[in-house]
Amino acid sequence: MARDPSDAARLGAGLGAVAIVTFVYVQWLHVSNAAIVSTTFLMVVLVLAATSRLWIAVVTSAVAMLCFNFFFLPPVGTWTIADPQNWMALFAFLAVSLVASNLSAVARVRTQEAVGRRDELARLFDLSRDVLVMTDSREAIAILARSIARRFDLEFAAIALPRSSDWDVFEAGPQRTDLDTRQLASAFAAAQTSLEFDAYARTYAGHRTVTIEGRAIRLVPLRVGTKPIGLLAAAGRPIEAGTLDALGGVVAIAIERAQFLEERKAGELTRQSEQLKTALLASVGHDLRTPLTAIRVAATNIQASSLTADDRLDQSNLILAEVERLTRLFQNILEMARLDAGGIAAESRWTHPSEIVAAARGQVEQTLRQHNVSVTVDPDVPVQLDPRLTAAALAHLLENAAEYAPSGSTIDVHGRITEEGLVIQVRDHGPGIASADLPHLFERFYRGDAARARASGTGMGLWIARGLLAAEQGRVWAENGPDGGAQFTIVVPAAAKEPAASPGI
């Protein structure tokens, strides 16, 4: 009967209290007034009923009644009762103590239930909070399972979601168990075909307990509305069925939310890639058509016999320049694709900064023909970085400067070594950058108002420059120089052969 050691202790304490009262009243105080004795016993029973189970209070009241009869009701020392009035006293005592025990026990159970429910509610609330901060990854459901195990102090919690032929099971908790998919399927089928909650039988459909490796595991359907989308398995601490059902509801909503977020992310990605394609086509379309037209017409012109030698040379130069332009465009598209695919890795090597500048100038020679480029590199000591990426990025900056600064103007390139690494600044004497464009300059296909009015340019160059530099942990930013032109600064982390004495000089 005494399943709980504390129950035995309480029973012992109750019987002990009855014994002590009897002893004290008989031996020391010599109390014989039946009213005082029965009230005292009643008090013991009530205290016991308020703090322990009903049966303990009942046993104690029976024993107290016997003591009352044996030690206090005359004739004392026998089980017989002489005065019929005392029969009444005895039964009144028993009745009152039983009723009081019962009332008090009911109140106690209610309180315990309320405390328990408050506890479960707090856990559910904590879990809901976990759900709300959940992100949109597949990890989310595994995290959710861990949250359930932690918040509800379970030895084992698992979320099982049906796939076309199999189950996705996300397990958590210190004591993992392999769930039997046949049991999952049958519980899921039951949840699908029966009522959510049978108010008459007060049962929740689909809840069932399965035994795996000797452990009882509760299976609860996860329902969105009335439709089950999976199962929750829980083992360890017993949880009330209503709470489990509510937990199932919260988990189901969380899963729906995670799946929705995932879908939205996928949709967003598709949309972005569509947008990108449209932007790429729009921007490349024009840059392809013009050179193609010019090359086609110029080639026809060369064939025409009426051309002078000078004109013929001019036309072939035109073709070369336009082919260069197409090549550059093609390179940009390739570079962009490689950046998108994450296929660019930095290869560090010792190089002189002046070599990087020279390489960059070489890559955009045609574009720079109309401009003076003034280069200062100080100190020109070897630095360790990826010269290829740095030069390619610098080439894009030079190209950009050449496109926006008027022909004949000077583009200043200044290289120096600081604690941060190699710093290269490209400053032009063009119109500068509109403040509205500054924050977007390095976005792909972004072209400022001024740029959009211009025919050439795709909005790829600066984006590529930034991507190339990022591949070697470098940075690039733009600002307007003190005299109004645009000023771009590249910083690439690099070790230098001779430590720079102080930055900037």
């Binding site: 013009t290 017409v297 110029a298 320049a321």
Partner: protein, 236 residues
């Protein structure tokens, strides 16, 4: 080609200027070049050229806007260079009075053919408004509203005749769907392209020797129709 026709090339792309300029000069045209819409309008105001080759993607003004302003003061033929691929721009330009278009990338002969036709049209403009019009074996008698092929009369409904004479008046020139619909059915019908499509199909059955391969009523896909006089597309 005497006297030499003066062509104004309006394009901001230096590559196009450098290639198309010599091309036109080598075919006996005098060529002037403008890099912006404003320059072009200034040059036109000084002296109207015989023809304008106009790129729609200009840095300062929309090409269509240049079209509109030129049309406001002159009937000089305009051949539009559209680089944007979007049909809307060139349809707009045609609606605003451009005579023809060439889509970049274009071949030299394509551009030269359009220029030749536009110049010839401009020269014969005044004669086509009444009387007879002949193209191949087809004769249109505007005054009597009759159409003959090899002297045999072809019976046309009033709408068919209206469409045919509209296209013939503007022969070798693209008329947009909108402008045809507006001229024949009125301004409320400009979106009813299926009317036009049906009417063209009927008309082709009557006047084309082989309606499946029309030689007079040419479709310009997504843009409009053109009445081809036969010799225009075969430059000599």
């Amino acid at each position: 080609m005497t006297p030499r026709s003066r062509i104004l090339l309006v394009d901001d792309e230096v590559a196009i200027q450098r290639a198309v300029g010599p091309l036109l000069r080598s075919r006996g045209y005098d060529v002037e070049i403008a890099g912006t819409g404003a320059d072009a309008l200034k040059m036109i105001a000084n002296e109207t050229p015989d023809l304008i080759v106009l790129d729609l993607g200009l840095p300062d003004l929309e090409g269509t806007e240049v079209c509109r302003r030129v049309r406001a003061r002159s009937k000089v033929p305009i051949v539009v260079l559209s680089a944007r691929g979007a049909e809307a721009d060139k349809v707009d330009a045609l609606d605003l009075g451009a005579d023809d278009y060439v889509t970049k990338p274009f071949g030299p002969e394509e551009l030269l053919a359009r220029i030749r036709v536009a110049l010839r049209r401009a020269a014969s403009e005044d004669q086509t408004t009444s009387g007879h019009f002949r193209a191949g074996d087809l004769t249109i008698d505007y005054d009597r509203r009759r159409v003959l092929r090899h002297e045999a009369e072809i019976r046309l409904t009033p709408k068919e005749f209206e469409l045919l004479s509209l296209l013939a008046h503007n022969h070798d020139r693209v008329l947009t769907h909108r402008s045809i619909l507006k001229a024949i059915w009125g301004p409320n019908a400009v979106e009813q392209t299926e009317h036009l499509w049906t009417l063209v199909a009927q008309l082709r059955k009557k006047i084309e020797p082989d309606p499946a391969n029309p030689q007079y009523l040419m479709s310009e896909p997504w843009v409009g129709y053109r009445f081809a006089t036969g010799d225009s597309d075969n430059p000599t």
